[in-house]
Amino acid sequence: MNQNQYELILVGDGSLSMEDNSKLVTKFTGIVEKAGGKVIAKSDWGRRKLPYEINKKGFGIFNLMFLQGNGTMVDDLQRQAGYDDSVLKCFTLLVKDAKKAAADFEALKKDPKKNAKLITEGIGG
């Protein structure tokens, strides 16, 4: 089967403890490995305030996973996310290079205003 690289964004319930959240992530890594995929990188964005309520929840824990696998793996992930009540949002995106995407996200987490600054400086100067 053709192996693609994906980015999975998983928004867990904000009322979950960090231990429960890590359990949720390990559950999803299990699903990936069962479907013949591989987890390239994992990242955590922490607890964030949601701009609109999802399932009457105001906060969500954002988890990002960079994966390698096929289409059936993605279908499995979406199905399992639908069954789980502690998952508020879940979707996958096709990326060209998962390692680069993971590195870019780590850089973004360190300096979130980097690109916005570049634009304001460009307009000002």
């Binding site: 607890r47 305030k49 701009p51 969500g60 979130p112 690109n115 916005a116 570049l118 634009i119 307009i123």
Partner: protein
């Protein structure tokens, strides 16, 4: 019949450069909220190209990223950007 206005060829419109390309940003990520925030109004609407000054390609990528961010729960559909500074304890759900 009104007089036809003579076209003044000395007053040509100045071509503006796309601010995103000028800044050297190659890819627009949906997680880069600080960047996306610059191209939406306070009501959360996407600013049109004639005002934002983006080129056609960047505008399509920008709208794609903004819509993706809305669905991921990073941007609001109606209220624009929600700051993260507020403490969790003060949160009260809407009735």
């Amino acid at each position: 019949m009104g007089k036809r206005k003579k076209r003044n060829y000395n007053e040509r419109s100045v071509k503006r450069e796309c601010p995103v390309i000028k800044a050297g940003i190659n890819e627009i990520d949906y997680k880069d909220i600080e960047l996306l925030k610059m191209f939406i109004t306070t009501k959360g609407k996407i600013i049109p190209r004639r005002i934002s000054g983006l080129c056609a390609r960047t505008q399509t990528r920008m709208t794609e990223a903004i819509k993706r961010a809305r669905n991921a729960g990073l941007l609001s559909f109606a209220e624009g950007y929600v700051s993260q500074e507020e403490e969790h304890e003060h949160y009260q759900p809407r009735r």
